[in-house]
Amino acid sequence: MSLQGVLPLNGLSGGEVLAYRPDHLLIAGMVDRGSKVLDIGCGDGDLLQLLESRGIDGRGIELSREGVNHCVAKGLAVVQGDADTDLVDYPDDAFDYVILSQTLQATRRPKDVLENLLRIGRRAIVTFPNFGFWRLRLQLLVGGHMPRTDNLPFTWYDTPNIHFCTIKDFVQLCDEIGVKMERAVALDSDGRPLRVAMPWWFWNMFGEQGVFLLSRGERR
């Protein structure tokens, strides 16, 4: 299945598509044009830049000053800050979408962060490394060590990732706090989406990362 096939990203040429990370393209495809987006942990601002090129009003939060500098140099509006402590200061309904890309597992209170995402934004897009990925399971089972991969290169003692979860765990948390899953996609090692029709256990085993589009559920 080709990448363009699953992404509703009109107006990007093949070359442009290759210039962006596949998960960024997937996220961009979930965001409606003209909406207002907060990207938490925006790094060097690559995703924000992609969003802005698509007529989306983007803002960012980034922990590192180097990251903030890179973003500001690109003309992006990015604030140095911490997802764990700063989200409480944002007003309700300030954004159409709040994006938390590969950051949830590094927060001290993922549940609070997730609840804040859907307070600040009408929708949230969360991506995270799936700790249920078969390679990680195998490393722990056979090697007896905490798993390390290209995407998760840290040793157990210096990793910023303190709250790993599996896709299954995340789905459970969403249920627990009454968050509605509008779309869920599992990406393979190359960042390509797995076939849509597969069951959860398959995603939990073969997805290297999960991408979820969430909205406020009934119970809120």
């Binding site: 207002k36 000053r65 500098n69 500001v72 140099a73 003309g75 509006a77 604030v79 200061d89 300030a94």
Partner: protein, 411 residues
Amino acid sequence: MRDMTGLTPKSTSVLRTVAPQERSEEHSHEVDHPSSLVAQFGADKPLKLDCGVDLAPFQIAYQTYGELNADKSNAVLICHALTGDQHVANRHPVTGKPGWWETLVGPGRPLDPARYFIICSNVIGGCMGSTGPASLNPATGKVWGLDFPIITIPDMVRAQAMLIDHLGIDTLFAVVGGSMGGMQALQWTVAYPQRVFANLAIACATRHSAQNIAFHELGRQAVMADPEWDHGCYADKGTHPHRGLAVARMAAHITYLSDAALHRKFGRRMQDRELPTFSFDADFQVESYLRYQGSSFVERFDANSYLYLTRAMDYFDIAGDHDGVLAAAFRGIQTRFCVVSFTSDWLFPTSESRALVHALNASSARVSFAEIETDRGHDAFLLDVPEFFEIASAFLDSAGKARGLKTVTGV
């Protein structure tokens, strides 16, 4: 601009012990006849002050660097801090020292005169050529002294806006300022949201904290306790409360630094001696340094002006002017903001900048924010801190691109 290179630079040795000096002859002259550009505003153009007084006539002394481009889109206004003035990037006519912000303004610097038309004016109430308590009151022929009306930060900005009108500029590409200058920069966007494209607010706050008001009161009381202050009427007698003003400056100077910076710079080292003298002489280098800061300040600054400007900062409270809701002041603003704070600044701590950033976020303004790691305290914004220049350059360059300004190389 008149040539100011003929002035002899004074000694810049910071570890000398200097007896407090009288205000210099050069300074007395600068008050009414500044060696910079001057815009005069007559009786038909009064400055409407917050205290209810219409101030007229009045003058604003200013400096410019670079050229205004054809579509007048490259003007940058720099707002100076409490004891700064319009001499941002040229030799100071009184002290002979280099401009106070040559780290930020100059060829190859974030604000390059080859790209921008840079304006800096002495604030109203100041003492380097703009009308203030040290100026002559045309109605009496005497120095204003305490007859000068109380001014506020919004008054300073209103006067600057009249200067910008006078220069024929509609929209400023950027307003830039640190400390009290940052307060003015913020006030600019609050008062004239359509006239500011980008705003670089450094080491500042949207209101003056209780602690800062307390420090200012300490300084004012030091001035007023000097018998030579004489209820502000010292000019008539040809004296100046230099001792009180020097003490005020010494106290204020401590707030501009940090414990770590003082320790690194001076520690407990002795000044030109091995052993304590068992007296109240300046045995320690840090004492000698502070005494020098106090005494060199009084030769270029007027005591009453110090009272007025510290008061203006005390009264500053943007939220207070908007029913206590800071975000309401910035609602609908299109200006791009960059807010910068410094980790060791305890006068305008990062928490103040964060409060500003949250309010700007809440009102949907485009804002960037960075906290720069340094142990140099509040003064860091005036010093050579590369991380600060990096973000200032990044912000100004990207805003310049959005504004369609040419780069220095013409691209």
